[in-house]
Symmetry: C4
Subunit: 245 residues, 4 copies
């Protein structure tokens, strides 16, 4: 509901009647994610890299009410904002989204506060399902919705096999990093996890949520869905006394 | 969001202003199933047999965004695609949908990744509620929403009794087959289960989901709903220390 | 999706542009209840008494797709249908809805298959929270949403107190009757429970669901909501090791 | 669905085509809260202070159906109603909303019957997670969505830090007061809790729900969301054997 002010040229960057324009997509994704409980209370966020520009949701805006007019645009090469709504502030997630773009070649990065993600990190922390610093699950069909490295090939073979994705008998491993007092301070450990876990499409943040990326919006979003499905299933499995691997 | 290309005659097969046309129905059902959590992350699918044609959702498309233009059409007699969107690939579920049409005389088959279905197969696998290879539940009213064999009579007697359906004191039995690395490889065991369990309207796939069929869309969909209700109830009953039969 | 046929005069009974007309209200309530998981797979139903007529949802129709054209109308005095869609059959719930109208002076009766209702009857059956034949809960604020007898005064005092409703320190008691093979056979035990429990606004049916009534649609619906809230809370309380009374 | 009657001048107070007008906002918030399960069965409520006026949802109206015409308007200085729909009664929450406006300088107060809030008060009552009279949780990222005192600064620093809010390593403490037979009788203990817990943005009411406030609608609503997230997470943590602090 914040009012915004900025120069006219920059506005053209976020004004489009095309629903697949990044500024429109961020708004529709945020509405959808609000319905899924991923971005409650202004938490979470989305960023899209498009050509030479990074489109970013602002800090502190109700996600289900976000408008294209609220979107920040950064020049990727110079890291300078070429559009910033005057009344708003950039999201603290910005350096983390940039990490996915630079370190992993992502085109979209999604950050959710999904409770299933948080609960999975708590169960790992308590040592209840194996190692504390990585979530592992295997032999669940939905694992096949996850590409190797997050930005892997989306090629589908004639029979429907997704060639760049994990297989049913693979173990999906998502590293967990420790939370920090300030979100931007996650940058170093997030980048370290991205380097150390080249096959992961996401990094879990303990007691906080998850960062998921993909080479484009569709890949990032469908992976975020598949991951959240697996986190929820894992929590329910734990309640029922079942092991994840 | 994939672009599609194909010859013009075939397009007429999926273009209709009638919401009950199979190509439109598949899209509206996929949107509804997405809301139910059944087809997360491009998982799951729907197929409808109409006259001499099979209408099929493609592989890898976000189900809530599916458009009639994305639908594959197969000639039932020759098993050849008479319409295929150029940029898309057929679903790996195709041979499994065909099994329901040929082996059970179905007119619609629905495949979901519902977590309740997966959890039920996990509880059976762990031997926590009886046999490992079949889900059984009895004396729950919703069982009466399931027809014998899945494609049984939908006749309703004057007082409201569904004549072709299971009764309250019947035990509903849904066989569970083991998952395979590749979905199409489920065909043999799925067909075997269809033959060995003539009364079932569905086959559960361990750690994967469920295939449900009906003689038409309404019967398949309402049975999918009743089954999912029963799977969810069974999981909650297990949490509360209650037996399914 | 069933086609319907009937004479023209009777159609006027269900055709109205007023959204509060009983035939329209039944359809909008059914859509709403479908979203709440109360009428999955054609289960459940709603009936409204208006002047000398009873409006009834049919058997076997998908509740979220119901149209005014699908509605049965019965003459209350003669118990004869004065409008019946040719392709449809009356609901097996009809004698049970009539019981609420005649025995309790209700103007609306709602039947749901809510899983929370079913789970509460299962927990009672197992003797886990007291008596087997009655659900009891006390000292939960939402109890104040329940009127004494279901059709009690809806008068609200100046300060907001609902004069005809249960108080916070009252114990809400909802009787549980045993399910039967055929829904219409519940009539006798349902009427018996209505007589024996004059303060109840509802009757639970073991392993089946609940019948809730009110003097009008608003009272019946808001009581159905408050009850379902209490059933869900009771199940969650049980999971957490907490007693209901 | 109640009919309303009142004099014409007062109607201008609630008639506006601006969706951010308080009378319109209360209605849209109530619809949204109904979808979240916060205001089931006419429970819960919202009040907004705007200039010299208090806008209040009435007692006993279905929240998802509320219309601007149903809204009460009180003159803040004199505490007299300057608009009251004739057929409706003021909410019993009114003195409690006023407490937030006077004691805490709030501009909006939200009251929910969220089951997560109720369950948290029950777990505290049972002594299962520490003290009985206060809900405490720490080191969960969503805590950062809560302002100190509820009406703290909403200033956001350049990097995205919310300067007036709790930090990740802070412990969030929400006092719990005991419920009373009549809602208006909560006034004294609610005001006492507001005085004794200057850092809290909310007061939990045992076996009843929660009152949350903010300096404006956005702050109150996003805090209500963040709190509900934390209540739900706390209940799930308890089920999994995890401690809140």
């Amino acid at each position: 509901m914040a009012s915004t002010g900025h120069d006219v040229d920059a506005d053209a960057l976020v004004k489009s009647s095309d629903p697949t324009h990044p500024a429109n997509l961020i708004c529709s994704l945020c509405r959808q994610f609000y319905g899924l409980g991923w971005v409650t209370g202004t938490g979470g966020g989305v960023s899209i890299k498009h050509d030479k520009h990074i489109f970013l949701a602002p800090s502190g805006v109700e996600k289900e009410l976000m408008q294209p007019d609220n979107i920040f645009v950064m020049d990727y090469a110079s890291r300078e904002y070429i559009r910033r709504p005057l009344a708003l502030k950039p999201s603290a997630c910005t350096p983390l989204f940039l990490a996915a773009f630079t370190t992993r070649g992502a085109g979209c990065c999604i950050h959710t506060h999904s409770q299933w993600a948080v609960l999975v990190t708590l169960l790992c922390e308590a040592g209840m399902q194996g190692r504390k610093d990585v979530f592992k699950i295997s032999q669940i069909e939905q694992i096949k919705g996850i590409s190797r490295g997050g930005t892997g090939s989306t090629e589908i073979a004639e029979g429907g096999r997704k060639l760049g994705n994990l297989g049913y008998f693979d173990t999906m491993r998502i590293p967990i990093i420790e939370n920090t007092a300030h979100e931007e301070d996650l940058k170093e450990s997030l980048e370290k996890a991205m380097v150390e876990w080249p096959e992961t499409c996401a990094v879990l943040v303990r007691r906080h949520g998850v960062y998921v990326w993909g080479k484009d919006v569709t890949q990032a979003k469908t992976q975020a869905e598949s991951l959240d499905y697996l986190f929820q299933l894992a929590v329910e499995m734990h309640k029922l006394g079942l092991k994840w691997t």
